[in-house]
Amino acid sequence: MKTKHMVLLGLLTAGAAILHIVESWLPTPASAPGVKLGLANVVSLFALAFFGPREALYVLGARIVLGGLFSGAIAGPAVFLSISGGMTSLLVMALLNRWAQPPFSLIGVSVLGATAHNAAQVAAAAILVGSPGVLWYLPYAVLFAVPLGAVTGMTALFALAKLPQKSLS
């Protein structure tokens, strides 16, 4: 890994961790628990598009650990939800980005990734509470994921367009 590469990944990780922490300060709507803005997902998506799945996984993993550390509950349920949501989302986005980019744009990849993120979080919450009743929130989680995922995708596209490509080499 080149030094420039590593520095850029470090910057991305720091940005993702900050977004993750700021997002945890925001209140969640009572009618739809588990719904988050997915700000940190911008960085995951950006890393995926700019570098690749492996680098995106590094950034995601470091971000979740840092976010857990800063929230003070590294082994708490929030981290469990972050991991299940983040990993599922990244897996879906990586597969789509690799194999289905021509039909989908980055916005579509992001929307499906956000949906996978929220769906996985609701499923994880249902497992955590041990009650399948939590799955009733799934439609709400998906409803919120679509516009938020679209915004995330557009943000990543803007960032990709503005960032000079030669800054990598």
């Binding site: 628990p33 349920p77 744009s105 939590v134 439609p139």
Partner: protein, 126 residues
């Protein structure tokens, strides 16, 4: 920055699924959001009524004077009639949502609406 046809199909399907799911869950709400009314007199639990669709009951608390007539109808409950001086409990009207309550201060009757099946989502949703 254009949405491709595949994007539009995916977004459309997801929205259709979620809206369909919400409509479905609202129609067949049952178990998810059942409420119950806890009625207490003088701070002691008197009766708990499960507020379920199609259920009707009218009952009377108290003696010949100092009474409340309580009416439960489906998912809602109210004080139909009372002989308390302020009539606040009667004027409160129907209640149906979880934190709502009806209080008859003179006769010390409290009707609280609570969730019938507690899912402690709030504790973990953070």
């Amino acid at each position: 920055m254009r949405l491709t046809w595949a994007d539009k199909i995916a977004i459309g399907l997801l929205l259709a699924f979620s809206l369909g799911g919400i409509v479905y869950s609202l129609y067949f709400m049952p178990v998810a959001g059942l409420k119950q009314a806890e009625i207490s007199v003088d701070g002691r639990p008197y009766k708990t009524v499960l507020l379920r669709p199609g259920y009707k009951e009218t009952f009377r608390i108290g003696g010949a004077s100092q009474y409340n007539v309580i009416e439960a109808d489906g998912a809602r409950i109210r004080v139909l009639e009372a002989d308390c001086p302020d009539q606040i409990c009667v004027k409160t009207g129907w209640v149906r949502q979880a934190p709502q309550q009806i209080v008859c201060l003179p006769w010390r009757t409290v009707i609280r609406v609570t969730e019938a099946g507690q899912t402690d989502i709030d504790e973990i949703a953070r």
